[in-house]
Symmetry: D2
Subunit: 332 residues, 4 copies
Amino acid sequence: MEIIEFIPEREQYAWTFGGVPPVRTVTPGTLMRLWTEDAFSGRLQSASDRPSEKLDMREVNPQTGPFYVEGAEPGDTLALHIVDLEPARDWAASATIPLFGGLTSTDRTVTLQDALPELTWIYQLDRERQTVRFEALRGELQLDLPVAPMLGTVGVAPGAREVRTSLVPDMFGGNMDTPEMRAGATCYLGVNVEGALFSVGDGHYRQGEGESCGTAVEGAMNVTLIVELIKGHAPVWPRIEQDGHYVVVASSRPLEDAWRASQAGMVAWLGELYGLDRLDAYQLLTQISESPLANVVDANYSAVTKVAKRLLPTGDAYNGMHRHLRGQAATV
Amino acid sequence: MEIIEFIPEREQYAWTFGGVPPVRTVTPGTLMRLWTEDAFSGRLQSASDRPSEKLDMREVNPQTGPFYVEGAEPGDTLALHIVDLEPARDWAASATIPLFGGLTSTDRTVTLQDALPELTWIYQLDRERQTVRFEALRGELQLDLPVAPMLGTVGVAPGAREVRTSLVPDMFGGNMDTPEMRAGATCYLGVNVEGALFSVGDGHYRQGEGESCGTAVEGAMNVTLIVELIKGHAPVWPRIEQDGHYVVVASSRPLEDAWRASQAGMVAWLGELYGLDRLDAYQLLTQISESPLANVVDANYSAVTKVAKRLLPTGDAYNGMHRHLRGQAATV
Amino acid sequence: MEIIEFIPEREQYAWTFGGVPPVRTVTPGTLMRLWTEDAFSGRLQSASDRPSEKLDMREVNPQTGPFYVEGAEPGDTLALHIVDLEPARDWAASATIPLFGGLTSTDRTVTLQDALPELTWIYQLDRERQTVRFEALRGELQLDLPVAPMLGTVGVAPGAREVRTSLVPDMFGGNMDTPEMRAGATCYLGVNVEGALFSVGDGHYRQGEGESCGTAVEGAMNVTLIVELIKGHAPVWPRIEQDGHYVVVASSRPLEDAWRASQAGMVAWLGELYGLDRLDAYQLLTQISESPLANVVDANYSAVTKVAKRLLPTGDAYNGMHRHLRGQAATV
Amino acid sequence: MEIIEFIPEREQYAWTFGGVPPVRTVTPGTLMRLWTEDAFSGRLQSASDRPSEKLDMREVNPQTGPFYVEGAEPGDTLALHIVDLEPARDWAASATIPLFGGLTSTDRTVTLQDALPELTWIYQLDRERQTVRFEALRGELQLDLPVAPMLGTVGVAPGAREVRTSLVPDMFGGNMDTPEMRAGATCYLGVNVEGALFSVGDGHYRQGEGESCGTAVEGAMNVTLIVELIKGHAPVWPRIEQDGHYVVVASSRPLEDAWRASQAGMVAWLGELYGLDRLDAYQLLTQISESPLANVVDANYSAVTKVAKRLLPTGDAYNGMHRHLRGQAATV
């Protein structure tokens, strides 16, 4: 297996999907060892750091990439298999950013109220116990929470000639902020431009579903990926395959529209997998869907539709691509 | 323990929360053995039954109750502990009802498009294997899905002098359609009127999160409950306590508003349980929330916020009411 | 013309649509002279009155009625022609109520932010100049604004056995808060229960479109109405006919759903009036619709679709009912 | 006054805001005579043209521009005064495009229903009477509707390094589709990049509020503009000044969020104009706002907040820029 290692210099970060020249060219089948900076560009380092002073909102959610995938053409499907995610620092940060988050008014849901206080929580990582420590700022409570590393942001260059900020997810993927994007998962993304131009970033050492306050346990991450390419078959919305589940992630506003799109995406996938009629798939999905939210904060909200493979006949998504990649990953 | 058994006659069904005289008076501490008709009032019995011909939409989601709880006053908290849910028939039904459901326009999200075809799926229950059989109507696929009984509808009379249909959930509970409402769960509901006037119904042998097509595997149910009363402490939105989780369910439109309310409800509950400051609770919730949707179909959508007790210090919600009720249930 | 005069005693106010016995029976064709209390039940009288101290939120938006209309049956159409609206006091009030309004989080759109300050503005009426005076509380600006009296709340008892608060509009009408409900307008409401059981209230001496802060220039009103009944033809959503416009008002969440319903209601009305095919009506509406918002604050938001008669062939809605009522009104 | 005339060749059309080199450089104070192609790129010419056959959805809403304004820097305010809009053809077109529009499911509000039939209406312009003729496709009705020319799309390059399709409006303006954008109006847009890079397009010979079916009476347009630049003072959302009104247009989803942003934008503008405290401005706006919708179809919906100058003290927005430009226009 070909191997590419890439640790971006600060001036190499991408802040958008699309609009940036590739930092490397990748042949399908390549293993990549990447490093991603945290969503705050590493600028929140202590509980006394105030986001409004430390952050330049034009430079948050830095991306590692984009990478040009040889042979990828519009209409193709990029498969990114996450082999491993490992915290690259011994601490991570979370914060309430003024007028950003799920339980505050925002620049999209405007009110005349004052912003919530801006606070920064620093989480120390215990690498041995695989926990991060929550420490209350206005009380004594301390809790050790299991580490559950995931990538908040995985995406390709968008279609329709667009260039889009790395903060707002859409059909091209991006900042979906779903805990489903973890080691062992294969993400399928429709290719919109030659070379696909994918990038990754925004590692979370842990995140709840919904990402309520807008920021997870944000930390730099060592990312191991395998890149593959499927000719044709581009899904409308990003799909994820895990050993146990098929997953569709859609991002929109209001939240029911994100959910509807993810559900319709799964109706389509069940149709592809089992030849199910659209209404039969709708019925079956009604009884077996899992619908854990991803984020309700990133301007476009991301909803997840998930079905357990154990409830279904054996499928063969993309000709067994996920199984193949799991096999490849096992050899690393 | 006092025991009440009640199987409603057809003319005793309630179709609303509020506005109906109680069928029985219940002393706190009583065990109740109830029977609930399915959401279709038992009228869909074969795959050839068309909802538009068989259903009277004014008589769907029949409720067993209401029950008058002695001593319950506005501001109190009703605790309903679900001891057991057992399918009362060997079959159940699901259907696409014209202009009802999550992936169709509705009378609330109006378009000029034609309705989807109306179809009825009958599920046979295998009581031994504890499965229900999905049979595709337009193909060959058959699947045995594990039974997972739950109550779609649990609620009390609403406040503000209102009487509300049993189809649309709100602060008073009602048709929340969440799989969290299963045996072993204790549901806490704020009391709005003297006697609380609670009722239950809409048993599901199984349901996915979101209840996509609008109807689960709908079946008559034998319901065993214990009723308890907590003076004061009425939560704004329904809460559920399970052995493993604290759960808040909120119902509104658009879906993000249901989610926001359920999240804020959990911020409040974490504050009550652990003395956590509001912003610390917001931060903690961000990292530990589970957010499985309940329904995106019942006009008001229901969102669930759930936290695992294993991640938290030992709590003592409502002075250990759930533990107490689990103990009581074990003696039945 | 038969005439009924009715000024409710305080204990006669209705707080709901449905669930209240009628205060009078009315024969179709009757002229009614009614008095309505303001939405605050008259409790905000000076700029120093704080809503949270003065208001009992269970007793806001008092209704004058309900009235039982002889012969009205479910499926019929009640026509209420507003002959005259005249301020019944020389002052009116508006206020910011904590967590109520369009530019604040609310109990439906929950955030963790503090409520906006609660303030009360008193407007003095200059009956001769027909103006109300806006006086800034935190500055010097004073403005005389033209009086434009309207009724915020007009509705009938809801269907589906429901009883609904007078605060939240829906298919039965209610608190639509649209400036279209002014003297000279005929409101058509579908009848849901025997006798229709309509009521009116919530007079505004003036209101902007959207009712941003949640309360208009709220004042007691002398209301002159003519009541008529059309057998059958119940519209799904309330309709209003003015000399110059056809109007449909729909109320829902999110706001696009209210707008969609009002648009579809107008597509239907254009079809009835001119035999227009649904798609032709959709096209025509696209080019001639006026879409002034009514309120974005009453939990259900109300959207208006309006078309100018001058752009259309002469129509004959409800067999000329509006013209007939205008004639009747002229004789008063 | 300097004058620039520009009629783009087909290969010069821009399909995005941002991401395209300027076609001309413009000095502030310049008069521009431009030609804009219709939203269908001129491809719908007869009632038998089916959008799905004739349209390339990547090439709709062609823009004339972008133009580089000398001296314009991020944070500045671009003022575009529309001197004149004149239909450039004797016909225009409208159509139902599959899964696009307000009363259909879309790629953003997904359902499993079939799309509405796709139909094309051709409107003949009577230049003398200044009308366009609506002809029903499935009936006999014909109506002559007054011409009311407007520009659907006016915008600058977005911030945050983005490039955005000309179909979806946002803070940078773009496809707002509001009838307020007519001759005599001055549009103020915040500058995000050097040179502002504005473009215009999507002329409508007439449009209702909401643009229900998604396409107005779409026609090529001769556009006469004056370009001016104000240093600093960039508004968050596009503003429009007319002789009679101040207008703010905001675009988002759900529709209430667009409305909230436009309202907050007007609260801010009233504060700038009259030194009004935020809460006083909120109160005043509540009583005087006009809220005619712009579009509920362009993926981001556009809401308008409008206040009549006649209700307010004399203001002096941007130091009288609109008055100045009206004066300049009078000399043309």
